[in-house]
């Protein structure tokens, strides 16, 4: 079932991180309102392939809003015009016939472009590797119900833990800061009893890695929170600041 929307796309095309990119204009015709944004791009790509042109490269995988692999800065906003939505869950009914849509990759020095709209987000992995875990080996752990955790605490930790690591916070922030992402992970462990033993060293290690990756600094504009597809709250950044400052100023001994 094809649709009746005709759109003009201005898409960032860039062969790799060593070449300069540019915008290329494409027509997307016969687009149905029921298509997701990525399905609309699929249609454009199928046309390109039929014409023998290199399709537009973009990252995507689960297409149900949970894996965090899709990105795209659409008409000036990460994941497009709808709040609380990843690009893969954005549908074309959010656009209108005849509209021009500008599609850019996430822009940050810590997220270099790999090709077209796909960027390298391994900086996020490295931040997690620096301390985003509890030091337990497999086996030899206590029974799961040994430590009761108040429901409100567990729920709050869960809220922080739902971050999908897509990088929209960095993309939205005028400073390309990663603090919402980093703080969500620090928060989860700062809240859960299992994270207590290493909470101060974790905060220091993760913040240090975040800085080393070249992300910008938070100026509390709140853009990250507003654009986060899963609603990670600014409260997390406050908590991270608290954890970090506490670690640096008062808990140096504990934070080996």
């Amino acid at each position: 079932m094809s649709g009746n929307m005709n759109l003009t796309l201005k898409v960032w095309r860039q062969k790799n991180d060593k070449t300069r990119g540019k915008f290329v204009t494409y027509q997307a015709n016969g687009i149905s309102q029921d298509m997701s944004f990525l399905e609309m791009l699929d249609v454009v790509n199928e046309d390109l392939v039929r014409k023998g042109e290199d399709p537009i490269h973009f990252d995507h995988d689960c297409r149900e809003g949970i894996c965090g692999m899709c990105s795209l800065h659409i008409n000036g906003r990460p994941h497009g015009p709808k709040q609380g939505t990843t690009t893969c869950q954005l549908h074309m009914r959010s656009f209108h016939d005849g509209q021009t849509i500008v599609i850019e990759p996430w822009r940050a020095s810590a997220f270099p472009v790999i090709k077209d709209l796909a960027v390298d987000r391994t900086a996020f992995d490295r931040i997690q590797q620096a301390g985003g875990y509890v030091n337990v080996n497999t086996g030899g752990v206590p029974d799961a119900n040994t430590i009761p955790i108040p429901k409100v605490v567990a729920d709050e930790a869960f809220e922080s833990a739902t971050c999908i690591g897509c990088g929209a916070c960095v993309a939205a922030c005028k400073n390309a800061s990663a603090m919402l992402f980093v703080s969500a992970k620090i928060s989860q462990y700062a809240l859960m009893p299992q994270g207590q033993t290493e909470r101060y060293s974790r905060a220091q290690a993760m913040v240090a890695q975040m800085d080393a990756e070249g992300f910008g600094s938070c100026t509390n504009t709140g853009a990250c929170e507003a654009e986060c597809p899963v609603g990670i709250k600014l409260t997390n950044i406050a908590r991270m600041n608290r954890e970090y400052l506490n670690a640096k100023i008062f808990k140096e001994e504990e934070a080996h």
């Binding site: 490269h57 949970i66 894996c67 996020f124 992995d125 301390g131 497999t138 752990v141 799961a144």
Partner: protein
């Protein structure tokens, strides 16, 4: 006959005894071994982390841009564990029994018992990692009943259990990467297995950013690469999910078991058009309160589809709540395969709803009347929102439209009790293997199996193999590495030389249609035979008329897709062969020739109580069937009934 290496002795003691009998690798010697782990979902991440903790060197690979994105992340419902925290009569034995029965007696008893046994450790492990499971007000873990189970044994983290468990395993993985024990390769796709003297000794990968075709050597190779549901083009799998790693291993000697066992999940959002790229699952918990129906007559359904009448114009007596009618005791909560098949049946009768007519209603009107909209919102709010977002229809005001979609594949690489495939040194974990779910998987059991294999089985069993190897490093200059690498390169260039008129997706969609039509929810001899021919034809069309653009030395999504579809085109035929061979109905495999008078699946235990493991024989050669007889010493085989 295949040797499953299931140890002798009473069921409950098999695993403990086996663990004792397995050879150990001295702690100081573990660092002399390198283990390759392909895939970083629940099975892969947990295996890589656990093995690295023991001291092995691990090389881990994933095709995504980060190990955290593996599709385990999308599992919604929960994870089963026989904790019996609710004091409602659960036990290791009951979980074992339910899983065997749910799998329609086509799984290996010993594996399933072990799965149930270690399930309790999984929850402990995840909690220790800081996974924020749902809790009661008293601070203890909450459980829910799931998928029609009679006990509440499902642990969950709202509707995102898979995500939370995967992030837990990912954190364990990260910890070992930080310690230098795991070398992580993101955006790398395994394209072949290297064997030396019949043993798995390495893999060939393609760096998906630079195109570099690289060899990696290791003393053992673990495939944790998930299922092959994308052979249907449309499925609830992620776009990148593929069978390539498993299929290439199959072509190097690993038997493929029960490929025809696919699970079709009943509550998915229906297809809207040809543009559709994937299907979205909604948790089957919706069936706890939603009522499934279609119009009683074809005429009414037609009028509704054409928009001549509204849903509200259909009177109560003109609605057919077919699940409640046919299965009075289970009603809307019948198992997944039964619910799916019945939906197909009413749609085939022409009573389907929605513009396409390929959907049935899941109606919450009564639930809202009974519980109030707020309660319904509290229970299912996120699912309703998701549905609203995708369909633009408000499920609080009108019934949802649902239709079954391919969701999980119970088949996979054949493995013995140690999870080793028929290639020594090559293991398969999680959805990638065939072992624990028989012909049908119960809800909340996939996560359990992935983590059981990775955290609690492979760390023991892999040592037994390594201990017999000696300490020599794998010879990376062995000619087989270069030979296999060359073959991969040739295959890549063969794909890149294709300059026909079809896109890879054109072919993939056609394959999907064939599989769905003839090897989907209901199968028969005639259809399957036809499908076999169609697939062979399609494979020829692919290799003669498809177009693959670009070059190898860059990020090339055309090439990636082409390689995967080429393998699906071979797997598809094997699935059809397997379905043809299995002239019985069991679990997700419904042969129309084998049904009861009431139209329910009928097993043939006398002739088909075995695992069908297929051995590759070369291009376009029929595969050879090996059988592993399934012995049931502890449970009595009965015909499932949900009447």
């Amino acid at each position: 006959m295949l040797d499953s290496k299931v140890p002798a002795g009473p069921l409950a003691e098999k695993w403990s005894k086996h663990k004792f009998n397995l050879k150990l690798v001295n702690p100081a010697n573990k660092r002399k071994y390198t283990i390759i782990v392909v895939g970083t979902g629940l099975a892969g991440s947990s295996a890589a982390a656990s093995l690295a903790e023991l001291g092995y060197n691990v090389k881990a690979f994933c095709y995504q841009d980060s190990p955290r994105r593996a599709h385990s992340i999308a599992a919604q419902g929960g994870i089963n564990a026989a904790k019996n925290y609710q004091n409602d009569g659960d036990s290791v034995y009951r979980l074992f029994y339910d899983t065997i029965k749910g799998g329609d007696y086509r799984a290996r008893e010993a594996n399933v018992y072990r799965l149930a046994e270690v399930s309790v450790n999984i929850i402990d492990q995840c909690v220790a990692q800081g996974v924020p499971f749902a809790r009661e007000y008293g601070g203890l873990l909450d459980n829910r009943s799931f998928g029609g189970a009679q006990v509440s044994r499902t642990f969950y983290a709202r509707g995102q259990t898979g995500q939370q468990l995967l992030l837990g395993a990912y954190s364990a993985l990260n910890r070992q990467i930080n310690k230098g024990k795991i070398e992580m390769f993101n955006r790398h796709e395994m394209l072949d297995l290297v064997t030396i003297d019949g043993h798995a000794r390495g893999i060939i990968t393609r760096n998906m950013v630079t195109g570099a075709i690289e060899s990696h050597e290791g003393h053992a190779v673990l495939l944790c690469t998930g299922g092959y549901g994308n052979v249907f083009f449309l499925s609830t799998n992620a776009m990148g999910c593929n069978v390539t790693a498993a299929w290439r291993a199959h072509k190097r000697g690993a038997f493929f078991a029960n490929p025809c066992y696919t699970q079709i999940h009943p509550t998915c959002i229906p297809v809207t058009g040809d543009h559709q790229s994937k299907l979205t699952l909604m948790s089957e918990s919706l069936r706890n309160d939603g009522r499934v129906w279609v119009p009683k007559t074809v005429e009414l359904a037609q009028k509704l589809r054409k928009g001549e009448i509204k849903i509200s114009d259909i009177k109560e007596e003109d609605r057919d709540y077919y699940l409640e009618r046919k299965y009075p005791s289970f009603g809307n909560l019948v198992p997944r395969d039964v619910a799916s098949r019945n939906a197909k049946e009413v749609v085939d009768e022409g009573r389907g709803v929605g513009a396409s007519g390929i959907a049935v209603f899941l109606d919450f009107e009564d639930a809202i009347k009974r519980l109030g909209e707020d309660t319904v919102r509290a229970k299912y709010g996120n699912l309703f929102d998701m549905y609203y977002q995708i369909t633009d229809e408000n499920p609080y005001k009108q019934p949802m439209r649902i239709y079954p979609a391919v969701h999980y594949t119970m088949g996979g690489l054949w493995v013995d009790y140690n999870l080793m495939t028929s290639v020594p040194g090559l293991y398969a974990l999680g959805e990638c293997n065939f072992s624990d779910h028989g012909a049908n998987r119960l809800g909340a059991s996939a996560l359990m199996q992935g983590l059981a294999d990775g955290y609690f089985v492979i760390p023991y069993t892999v040592g037994d193999y390594l201990a017999g190897l000696g300490f020599d490093p794998v010879d990376k200059n062995h000619p087989n590495f270069e030979k296999t690498r060359k073959e991969v390169e040739e295959n890549v260039h063969r794909l890149l030389s294709l300059k026909g008129s079809k896109t890879v997706d054109d072919i993939h969609k056609k394959l999907g249609h064939i599989m769905w039509e003839y090897c989907g929810m209901a199968r028969n001899e005639v259809g399957l035979t036809k499908a076999k021919g169609l697939i062979q034809e399609l494979r020829r069309e692919f290799w003669s008329d498809v177009t693959v653009l670009g070059e190898n030395e860059e990020m090339n999504q055309s090439l990636e897709k082409a390689g995967r579809v080429a393998d699906f085109l071979e797997l598809g035929e094997l699935m059809v062969d397997d379905a043809l061979n299995r002239r019985e109905s069991c679990g997700g495999h419904f042969r129309e020739e084998s049904q009861t008078e009431e139209g329910e699946a009928k097993r043939d235990d006398e002739n088909f109580r075995y695992v069908a493991a297929w051995e590759y024989q070369g291009e376009n050669q029929p595969e050879v069937l090996h059988k592993e007889a399934l012995e049931f010493e502890n449970v009595k085989l009965t015909q499932r009934s949900y009447k």
